[in-house]
Amino acid sequence: MTRINLTVDGDTYSDDVEPRMLLVHYLRERLGKTGTVVGCDTSNCGACTVHLDGHSVKSCNVLAVQADGSEVTTIEGLATDGELHPMQAAFHECHALQCGYCTPGMIMQAIDVLNDNPKPSEEEIRVGLEGNLCRCTGYHNIVRAVQVASGQEPKPASLEGSAS
């Protein structure tokens, strides 16, 4: 067992973990933060994306011990005082999710894209999200949500095919 100290979504934790424990398993099984999901488990799909010291990583491809001393932000740490993060709100408003499984990772990576480039073009958004797979293939509205969140597109007044 190895002792790790880290901050996750603003709270500090100190835990003994097996060195082989993956960060995503630590988040889900030790901290109960099941908002971060395991998709492919082969570091392809990006569903498990979290921020490690401010940068997006695939948490199925990081050991928990490698995050010792770091600050981790998950999808569960985005909302403040019950208010959705602007990216979460944009995904909601743009109907940017179908089954929803890729959504936590998509949102975390979309925020990383805007952190690097606050006004990305559509092409830059698509390239920035290339490590995140949506098996519903609902990329169109995901890209649109990032455009809305970046203030480059107006919020949709109504949505075709929206259930609401």
Binding site: E18, S43, G46, L52, V57, V65, G131
Partner: protein
């Protein structure tokens, strides 16, 4: 999927890491960014008893100016290499290759030295490093030695790094003002290249005065397309001249055959991608 059990140590100096590696012997494995190693451990294709993490060795991180060369620390992340002005100004083909390497998340964790030491023949960094005559600085308990790029890549996933040694930095001779391009052929996003070509050229008054061309996934190691380089020098940077020079790109290569294409297809692809890469590098 969960890796098999292992002991873990995260030294803060190269000396400590070398000592840990010596102590672990055959059962030790270095982890850099882990973006290739962790999938291997999870699938249990490898199960080292001790994993030695270089992630806490700050001295291995960063890019520095060293006169006629730039020096990239082995633990510098791909993302940091991508945004580095020294690399962009003096080794632009590295920037162009890293830009297309994997995806943003992997570039945040994966490291320049880790990828080169892993020596996947489909990895994106070998061909540009080879094309630029990079030198690999390898530390052992007896001190450091420097290995030329031509001697570094030995075989599939095999480099000149011996047991008990650690790649610490990569020196790349400066080539300011050269044009560069990395032409990567893939079927889907964030994938390894079926074939890729790294081209760096110096163009004076419309004529190619110097050229470097490296090939990815055209054999068990990255390869230099020396016949193409020689054919380009002194030629105009036109489609016709570059097309003629690129025709020999597949000569002497031994590419794999797989579901993405057989060896002959890859040899043809190499000529097409070489032409595109050189023309783009020359500003065409």
């Amino acid at each position: 999927m969960i890796p098999a059990q292992f002991d873990y140590v995260a030294p803060s100096t190269v000396e400590e890491a070398l000592a840990a590696l010596a102590e672990a012997g055959d059962e030790g494995k270095i982890i850099a960014g882990g973006q290739s190693l962790l999938p291997v451990l999870r699938m249990r294709l490898n199960a080292p008893e001790k994993v030695i993490d270089l992630g806490r060795i700050d001295a291995l991180r960063g890019v520095r100016d060293d006169g006629d060369a730039i020096v990239i620390g082995a633990m510098t992340s791909h993302a940091d290499v991508l945004s580095n002005a020294l690399v962009r100004d003096n080794a632009f083909v590295i920037t162009k290759a890293v830009e297309q390497l994997a995806d943003p998340q992997v570039r945040h964790r994966g490291t320049f030295g880790g990828a080169l030491a892993h020596a996947d023949p489909a990895g994106d960094l070998g061909a540009p490093a080879l094309a630029l005559d990079a030198e690999f600085v390898i530390a052992g308990q007896g001190g450091s030695r420097t290995v030329a790029a031509d001697d570094f890549f030995v075989d599939l996933f095999t480099t000149a790094i011996e047991d008990g040694e650690i790649l610490t930095e990569v020196r790349i001779p400066k080539r300011a003002g050269w044009g560069a391009h990395y032409e990567k052929f893939v079927r889907v996003a964030h994938q390894w290249p079926i074939v890729a070509v790294a081209a760096a050229v110096k163009v004076d008054g419309g004529t190619i005065s110097e050229a470097r061309v490296g090939l990815t996934n055209m054999g068990s190691t990255p390869l230099r397309a020396r016949s193409v380089e020689q054919a380009l020098v002194g030629r105009p940077a036109t489609d016709e001249a570059v097309r003629a020079a690129a025709a020999s790109a597949g000569e002497g290569t031994n590419p794999p055959s797989d579901l993405n294409g057989d060896a002959d297809y890859r040899k043809h692809l190499a000529t097409v991608l070489t032409r595109r890469a050189v023309l783009a590098a020359a500003g065409g």
